[in-house]
Amino acid sequence: MHEVSLSLQLAAAVSRAARGRQVRVVYVAIGALRQVVPEALEHAWVFTVRGTPLGAAELDLDLLPAVLTCDECGADTKLGPELGFGCAACGSAATRVVSGEQFTLTAIDIDIEKGTCDGTFPPT
């Protein structure tokens, strides 16, 4: 439900990083505990960037699982759909979330000019 607001914040961060250059792909790492619906975020992104300098930028979402580490036995547990927060190895409730809360703009792909034949830039 917060995909629209995240999309707006993401676009602002991308614009800062792009500094006016043409952005083609926006890479975002999203942890499962951020409760983002990928389809909803992509939908929101279309409307966020339409008619803006980011209009040609596509999202590339890297969906990361939630992982717990057990303070008692040290085992890692990947959270499944059953959504308990106990350790899968020993059953302890003393677990910490070590991954799954990311919402990070990791990289952007921008267009670059590789050089010109006649030395004029930009080409018209």
């Binding site: 596509e58 990070t104 990289a107």
Partner: protein, 263 residues
Amino acid sequence: MGRFHRHDDGTVHAHEHHDHDHIHEHQHEEERAELIGDHSGYATGRERIEVLEDIYAENDRFAAANRAALDAAGVRAVNLMSSPGSGKTTLLQRTLAALEGRVRVGIVEGDIETPLDAERLDGFGAQISLLNTGNGFGGECHLDAPMVARALRGLDLADLDLVIIENVGNLVCPAEFEVGEHRKAMVFSLPEGEDKPLKYPVMFRSVEVVVVNKVDLAPYLEFDMGLFRRNLEAVNPGVTVFELSARTGEGVGAWVEWVAGGI
């Protein structure tokens, strides 16, 4: 349009990815796209620029500033969350009545469009700041730290001991945004069903107190409190629970003592 790929089912799409234990280990540099044209005497290509910006960072900076402003005034803040219709505002009416003359309370009221909740809280001597949720980090489904920063400017913090932030009724989004509170609590009500901690684990795990409201409806519902408690323990072991009825006032005292605690 865009693409996405999951890593929790063992499949990888679109790109060759390496180990994903840490997002900082992405090695995309070698994936530079090939030249895409050389038709007019110049060539364009693509370059990947690593950014690594936490999209929540700006919200969290505002949250830290809110907390600093509250601390400077000696005010404690509680972020109160719930689904719509759980009885948050009724509980706040009881709470304000119990604390009137004893604790100076300010309310940040996160109603979406109407002043209805703020009107219900009038008359208890509390300062009330009604939030405009129309702009800020988000829309109308949650409060974020910049919105709460604006709302706090509507309160005279020097004349308060406690601020209760009544979040927008929603079990998903409010759990995602720190707003500068010291403590988080939520109201759950019996008609919502025993399974809610398992369906909204991020919310139920984010709080230190769960108020179980509408216990006066128990005779009319097939609500299994033991099952609810087990589900809650599965996502938030050791969480404090107050069973009460905001309507009748039964059990409200323990909640009031908690919310006024530390002042």
